[in-house]
């Protein structure tokens, strides 16, 4: 009972109203702390020099792009099993954010790769599977955009999300296989010293900051999506109100 109460969109909007300012506050604080630590307390890496500072955004972004897909998968189960519209809204508004985080991971990784490996891009297992993830995000977004009935679009996208969730581990596994077969150890991975607390702490703080950022953006996007559907429903109603013989039919069974 309580669960359904919170899943009521109006109540949800009210909840967002209350929670959002706090979340934003914590998010800003975490970023301030994380960035400070990343640039001023964290040491240079003896192998990588200052470029190690890219790690503090690269790694959280990479984690977040996977977490976002998890959120979408859980939401998709909600759409298909409980058929709750809010689950739909959650999945739909998570996709662009996920795509953005994936993009960040790719870009920072590439920019890190140039000084480290001497090239922006190699067809390494991990890199490639992130690229595939980006394609999947963008494909989902397009699917949502091209179907104009949001409920149907939500269901289709939920199916695709779940099939993709099934497929991601297979991709990961197969890409590892593929890469080890063709590319033995020519790609240098960072095998630096086991992570030192001085590096670990900033990383964790930045990870927390990114996670908070995700939730802030997700809640805001969900709110927008709810408003968008409201507008759509009202427009539809407007279309039928001005109709000469208006819709909602009543029956007159006659013998």
């Amino acid at each position: 009972m309580a669960f359904w109460d919170y899943a009521n969109p109006t109540r949800f909007l009210r909840l967002v109203q209350v929670v959002l300012p706090w979340l934003i506050g914590f998010c800003v604080l975490a970023f301030a702390a994380g960035l400070y630590m990343a640039f001023f307390t964290a040491p240079e890496d003896y192998q990588q020099g200052n470029t190690v500072r890219i790690m503090y955004i690269h790694v959280p972004a990479a984690w977040l792009c996977m977490m976002c897909y998890t959120v979408m998968s859980i939401s998709s189960i909600g759409t298909l099993v409980w058929k709750h519209p809010l689950a739909d809204v959650s999945a739909k508004s998570a996709a662009p954010i996920g795509a953005a985080f994936t993009f960040m991971a790719l870009v920072t990784g590439s920019l890190w790769g140039k000084p480290m490996w001497g090239t922006y891009w190699v067809w390494d297992a991990r890199l490639t599977s992130v690229l595939v993830l980006l394609i999947m995000y963008l494909g989902l977004m397009t699917l949502w955009r091209t179907m104009d009935d949001p409920i149907k679009a939500g269901k289709s996208a939920a199916i695709l999300t779940l099939v993709g969730a099934l497929n991601l581990p297979i991709i990961k596994f197969s890409v590892d296989w593929w890469n080890t077969l063709h590319q033995p150890a020519s790609v240098v991975r960072m095998d630096g010293p086991t992570i030192h607390p001085d590096i670990l702490w900033p990383l964790l703080v930045m990870a927390v900051a990114f996670t908070l950022l995700f939730f802030v953006l997700h809640l805001m996007a969900m709110r927008n999506e709810i408003l968008r559907r409201r507008v759509r429903a009202l427009r539809m109603r407007a279309a039928s109100v001005s109709r000469p013989g208006t819709a909602a039919a009543t029956a007159q069974p006659a013998e």
């Binding site: 020099g49 500072r53 953006l217 927008n224 408003l227 009202l234």
Partner: protein, 57 residues
Amino acid sequence: MELGTHAGFIIASYALCILTVLVLVAWVRIDKANQERALKELAEQGISRARRVHESR
């Protein structure tokens, strides 16, 4: 703060990340403004949720 020989790459990656986040923030805010404007326009046309008759089902 000294960033060494690869400063360009570090700055570029931070800048791009900040840019991406800014785009995301702009997206949600513009979107919100758009939807709220549409709701207001509809309300001005006399179409709003308040006209709902049956509250419960």
